[in-house]
């Protein structure tokens, strides 16, 4: 299995001159193509820091991070931006939709920064992504006119519109009720089944339990990295 994420001795130190915080220490793991992985840990465990690095929004202060065969360390901001645009789809806890912009325009947003997608085909691609999320009838609605679950589905459509290698979800169900949580998780595992690598950062055991592999962090390092074979079927049953 070709690795999508290779983390080698990742370390991240925050140093503002007076206080020095080691948010990540010696983190090592590899995530292969098509995996569904949960990264868990309580607050302060370093999972947000790790997410930032995995999402190419931040750089490790030590160690190596290789995303889909590309070494991220030493890249310029502009190269990182292009990498985020082409290889990663983000799903956030608070959806992060542009409020007074239609669902369709929100989904189009990443393609604005990808010159390889011709302007004329953006609308069509965005519409297809919304359609996959079952939201084609909501395309012209603004986020305020949609339910929380629908908003998160718009956000997922935005994440997958440019066919990323990796979907990075940061507490994707944190702001949702249990029904919407189930539907969002179903969608994410559905995407995973169709071949996309999905990494979910969460502190909810419930959500983590639905992932085949769980990486737990505490105080900046990995304490467990388990594959839960038995959960797969349980997941399937619960979701259906």
């Amino acid at each position: 299995m070709k690795p999508v994420i290779q983390a080698e001795n990742l370390g991240r130190v925050f140093d503002n001159g007076t206080v020095r915080v080691e948010a990540l220490k010696d983190v090592n793991f590899t995530i292969g193509t098509g995996e569904l992985v949960a990264i868990t840990g309580s607050s302060g465990s370093g999972k947000s820091t790790l997410l930032g690095i995995l999402g190419c929004l931040d750089r490790p202060t030590s160690g190596n991070y290789i995303l889909d065969g590309v070494a991220v360390a030493g890249m310029q901001n502009r190269e990182l931006a292009a990498l985020r645009n082409r290889k990663i789809g983000f799903v956030f806890q608070s959806f992060q939709l542009l409020q007074r912009t239609s669902a369709l325009d929100n989904v189009e947003l990443p393609m604005l920064y990808n010159p390889s997608i011709p302007e004329g085909s953006r609308k069509k691609l965005a519409m297809e992504a919304l359609d996959r999320m079952g939201l084609s009838d909501r395309a012209l609605h603004k986020p305020s006119e949609l339910s929380g679950g629908q908003q998160q589905r718009v956000a997922i459509a935005r994440a997958l519109v440019s066919n990323p290698k990796l979907i990075l979800a940061d507490e994707p169900t944190g702001n949702l009720d249990s029904e919407s949580t189930a539907s969002v998780m179903e969608i994410l595992s559905g995407l995973n089944k169709s071949g996309t690598t999905v990494v979910i950062v969460t502190h909810e055991p419930d959500v983590a339990a639905r992932c085949r592999r769980v990486i737990s962090l505490r105080d900046g390092h990995i304490i467990t990295d388990q594959v839960q074979e038995s959960k797969i079927f349980a997941d399937a049953i619960r979701v259906t």
Binding site: R78, A81, R86, L109, L112, Y113, R158
Partner: protein, 407 residues
């Protein structure tokens, strides 16, 4: 991101904050409009001064006896005798760069017609004087050369003299008035010239043949001034030099203390002096207007800074989705440029309207020059870039992780 995307994004975001955007644009509108209007009004005043100067005569050169001193009487004893009618004749004969020459003698006289009387200036002239001063009649006719250069008792009166002596609507042509002690017949009424540059009434005037004024009215042979019209504006300097050369050839023209006992002045000196006054005025008005444009620019910067802060999360999101710092910078710069360019366009329109209004109130030939439009527009675009750059740079330097978490 294409230009189309940029325009779309900035337009939507500006329309969303409608009132705020309008107020910001208004600042620029006021700035640009005042630059345009001030320039137009300034140019108009320049134009009207030039017109006035032109009405005073065509390429006029004046020769005075004695040294010419502004604000003080500097005519030494006997200076009157320096200039004679003969000089005017000689200048006309010998100086090739002049087309018209007239000696002038002026005298304040009481003018009486029936029971009305009025004190006015009687000017003794030759027929050339009409050419020099571009005089025309509104009724009757000018003096003929034979009349003006001889001893005729015909005269011309200005509009003011007509109004003071004759009942409105009556025909003064052919009537006889008494000028001082001499009865004279009116042959024409001069076209109105309005008030002069220094506010004097140019229509309070009687023109009569030189000899008549000299002999019958004043009993003298002296003249006070010779006025000359040069062939063309380009020939002015040459004409002045020629006249000077002639004057210096006269005997006793240099006084015992080495001063020349005459002076030569030209209309163009006056016109360039007035021109420079109006240029200073234009400059002053325009800089005040430019300051208001600057204030408009500060308004843009202010609103863009607010906008960047408000949209911190949006910026973070765009960065996470792949926007580079350059993309973000350009997006905000596009907004500020759009504000200032709209302000520029509307400001030009308003400025033009203000200029027309001011022109009709002040009765000036207000001209909105294309260069001032170009200047104002360029300046407003530059203001947009200059004052938009800092907020845009600030936006582009945000850290995406922190920006996404911003509440």
């Amino acid at each position: 991101m294409t230009i189309k995307d940029l325009v779309k994004i900035s337009t939507t975001s500006l329309i969303r904050n409608g009132v705020r955007s309008w107020l910001t644009v208004l600042g620029v509108i006021i700035g640009v409009a005042s630059v345009i209007a001030m320039q137009a009004i300034g140019n108009g005043s320049d134009e009207s001064i030039k017109k006035e100067v032109r009405s005073m005569g065509v390429n006029v050169i004046m020769i005075f006896p004695g040294t010419f001193r502004m604000g003080g009487v500097a005519q030494s004893a006997g200076s009157m005798s320096v200039l004679e009618v003969e000089d005017a004749e000689k200048i006309k004969e010998t100086v090739k760069t002049v087309v018209a020459v007239s000696p002038i003698v002026q005298s304040g006289q009481q003018i009486v017609y029936q029971t009305n009387n009025w004190r006015s200036n009687v000017t003794g002239i030759w027929a050339d004087y009409f050419t020099i001063k571009a005089y025309k009649v509104s009724s009757g006719r000018l003096l003929t050369e034979r009349e003006a250069n001889g001893m005729s008792k015909n005269c011309l009166i200005g509009k003011t003299v007509y109004k003071k002596l004759f009942p409105a609507g009556s025909n003064p042509i052919g009537e006889t008035i008494r000028v001082g002690t001499v009865p004279m017949k009116i042959v024409g009424v001069l076209e109105a010239k309005g008030s002069g540059t220094f506010g004097q009434d140019q229509d309070d005037i009687i023109l009569a043949p030189l000899k008549t004024v000299q002999k019958r009215l004043l009993a003298t042979t002296f003249i006070q001034q010779i006025q000359v019209s040069a062939k063309s504006e380009a020939k002015m300097t040459q004409a002045m030099a020629d006249i000077r050369a002639y004057m210096l050839s006269k005997p006793n023209i240099i006084s015992s203390d080495g001063e020349e006992r005459f002076s030569i002045r030209s209309q163009s000196e006056l016109s360039s002096m007035l021109g420079s006054i109006s240029k200073v005025m234009i400059l002053l008005l325009s800089s005040i207007a430019a300051i208001s444009l600057l204030v408009g620019g500060i308004g843009i910067m202010n609103i863009m800074l607010v906008s960047v802060t408000e949209r911190t999360r949006e910026i973070g999101l765009r960065m996470a989705l792949g926007a580079t710092d350059r993309d973000v910078k350009i997006q905000f710069l596009a907004e500020s440029i759009m504000l200032s360019v709209w302000g520029g366009i509307l400001g030009i329109i308003f400025g033009y309207l203000i200029s027309l209004l001011a022109g009709s109130i002040l009765n000036w030939p207000v001209t909105v020059s294309s260069s001032s439009i170009l200047l104002a527009f360029t300046f407003s675009a530059v203001v947009g870039i200059f004052f938009g750059y800092y907020p845009a740079k600030k936006a582009s330097e945000l850290d995406p992780i922190e920006a996404l978490r911003y509440e």
